[in-house]
Amino acid sequence: MTDQATDGFVPTQSKSKGASAGGALGLGKKDLRLFLLVVAMCAFAPFILNPFPEGSGLAQFNAGYPDLMQRFVIFGIFAIGFNILFGLTGYLSFGHAAFLGVGSYAGIWMMKLLTLNVIPAIIGSIVVAGLFAAIVGFISLRRSGIYFSILTLAFAMMSFALAYSVLTPLTGGETGMQLQYFDPRILDAPLPEGQTPRASLFGLEMAASYELEVGRWLFTFNAGYYIAAIAMLIAFYGSIRLFNSPFGMMLRAVKSNQNRLSYTGISPKPYTLAAFIISGMYAGLAGGLLVAMDTQVGAERMFWTASGEVVLMTILGGAGTLIGPVLGAGFIKYFENIVSKINKSVLEGWFAWMPDWMTDVTVTIIYPFVGKGWHLTLGILFMAVVIFLPGGLVQGGQKLATVLRRDRKSKDAERDAAIQRQAGE
């Protein structure tokens, strides 16, 4: 065969991930590094997220308290799972929150009926969400593109509407479902009247925290958070393995060209359905962990905006990348929980050192963007990220790096051209 010379041609970067040898845990070197980084970040999150000393003005930006740390990792799981479906197969489910919600309801019922131990609750959540996903997926995957999205949306909205109203006895409806002291809980001893049931792992309560005071800093190590973080790490590990498996490759092939895939002897449907179910189970796991950490379920977590949120998390972070969805989840949850709490008096506190009129002006300018204006900031950031970092936070970073490289290269080309021109004259 002729030798296809490619010198001078710059092939686009290979997408195959960490194909080289090395690494452990069945991961390539690059993936292993990423995974260890995530492990370290999870382990030290209470420090990393609490950079500002207690009582300082900037303490407002601290996110290292149990509830938010739990939310970061739990919604991270949700987004990782969503990304398995959307990032790999390109099927955009607009009803994924239904699986999270169904998982949560399953979890809380396990705690009501069986035991306050979170293990059965989490397993129950995963199983029930997986079954529900199998049904929804089986039906919805008959269609593709926007038709698929609307089918999933329809299922989720039906779930929400029913949970909020007709199914109130099962779901608690508007007020949500909570544990009660009089729940049967056949595996546990009955609680005395009026006692608050608390979720635990073999006696270790989810709410249990150890607080470490270092100077003016206060760090909280919460049992629930670490359990959720371990679940997240397992989920993340699973997703790396899945991305690099032949199964993952087939899913990417589904996204790329389903037609070719079927003429290649592969039936796309079971692959997409499997991805759908796996992704539903991830959502179920997230839902189960949510009730394990905070023992109540509100139907709103199945509303379309909740489904939209996980879509946004994934795209914002970078669909199809490993770590992107986790970053996206963190980003959105941070804004929801931190920026919404900056009120006028907090602002006034920050800028009190300015002359009065300047404080007023500054506060007036910033105030619409924080506190009750947090949605505005979030909306602006959504737009900014897609406009300036196409492909999300992760690819945005990568692109930035390549743009720098590319600049250098085109300059080289121009120089070459100039030399040629001179030679020609």
Partner: protein, 343 residues
């Protein structure tokens, strides 16, 4: 029987609202291929055009009436619209009364401009981007727009009534031989229905009797080839977007007397309008209109007490149930074109 007629009327009217919103959405979504989550926001902006316009008409000066007091016991500040001074009190009041219909004239240029700015400034960079990116950016935009409205107008609904002449309802029952009062229908809803029919007809005529529609469809299917044929497709996309924004806006303007507008009314309608468009079939304007009416009528029937007695809660899910059934029996909705947003 009269109950059924009444529900058909209701369904047509609900349907005309759905159809009008879906029409605007499908111009952008089904024709330009942009998943425009800001479409609801355009509807909302249209409604607030009416609110703003009627407020502009009522710009007032104040004088202090010492003979009366306000709730704190201070002298009362009385507001008098400038319009009363300009046109005289009765004519001024009449103009203010007709604020909503008149504001159509105000809303058309405003919404066209908003549409054009939005397309030029933002959307045009997203035609080639994945749908997911379009969702993210237009959702962001929708949030920004609605937060801006919330900042200036608050979260509470703002009553924006129809002119007095249209208040009240028309007694169909008496006309067609049923008991008086058994089938009544509000005048304004009839106006809305007629208005929707006119707008839908106008958009159809425009796209049907000019090559514009064909060019835009072609441009969406293969932008590059169309440009290589010498067509400035960008300009046409901009016009299309402007029209869609204007249609959405007008739908909003006329809707204000039916339900008082609030800043999140766009989001409330958004999901529903996507469902309508998709059930109608991507890329099909008649499909969108048909689906709008179909879902409107079915929803009306599902809210009849007789139906609810048999199937409690069916009104909660009927739209989605119908959507699922339609999409499973007809692969591309009612009238969808092949290959439009199927991947």
């Amino acid at each position: 029987m009269d109950a059924i007629i009444l529900q058909i009327l209701n369904g047509l009217d609900k349907g005309s609202a759905y159809a009008l919103i879906a029409l605007g959405l499908t111009l952008i979504f089904g024709t330009l291929g942009v998943v425009n989550f800001a479409h609801g926001a355009l509807f909302m902006l249209g409604a607030f055009c009416a609110v703003t316009f009627s407020r502009l008409l009522q710009v007032s000066y104040t004088f202090t009436d010492a003979s009366r007091t306000d709730f704190l016991g201070n002298p009362l500040q009385v507001e008098v619209p400038y319009l009363y001074d300009i046109l005289g009190e009765s004519a001024g009041a009449a103009v203010i009364d007709w604020a909503v219909p008149i504001s159509i004239l105000f809303a058309i240029p405003v919404m066209l401009l908003i549409g054009v700015i939005m397309e030029r400034g933002l959307i045009k960079h997203f035609y080639k981007r994945p749908h997911a990116d379009q969702i993210l950016v237009t959702f962001g935009l929708a949030i920004v727009l609605q937060e801006i409205i919330k900042y200036f107008y608050g979260a509470n609904p703002i009553p924006t009534p129809a002119p007095d002449a249209f208040i009240g309802s028309f007694d169909f029952g008496a006309m067609i031989g049923f008991d008086a009062g058994s089938i009544v229908y509000p005048y304004w809803r009839m106006v809305y229905f007629g208005f929707a029919a006119i707008i839908i007809g106008a958009v159809f005529a425009f796209l049907r009797f000019t090559t514009f529609g064909m060019v835009v469809r072609a441009g969406m299917a293969d932008r590059e080839t169309v440009t290589l044929l010498g067509i400035d497709i960008d300009r046409r996309f901009t016009i299309m977007f402007g029209i869609a924004a204007a249609v959405a806006g007008l739908a909003g303007v006329m809707y204000t007397p039916i339900n008082s507008p609030n800043y999140h009314m766009g989001m409330d309608f958004l999901v529903l309008s996507f469902v309508v468009v998709v059930v109608g079939g991507m890329g099909s304007l008649p499909g969108a209109v048909l689906a709008g009416f179909l879902l409107g009528i079915i929803e009306a029937f599902a809210s009849m007490p007789e139906v609810l007695d048999v199937l409690p809660g069916i009104n909660q899910i009927i739209i989605y149930l119908v959507a699922i059934i339609v999409l499973l029996t007809r692969p591309r909705g009612l009238m969808g074109r092949k290959g439009v947003m199927e991947d």
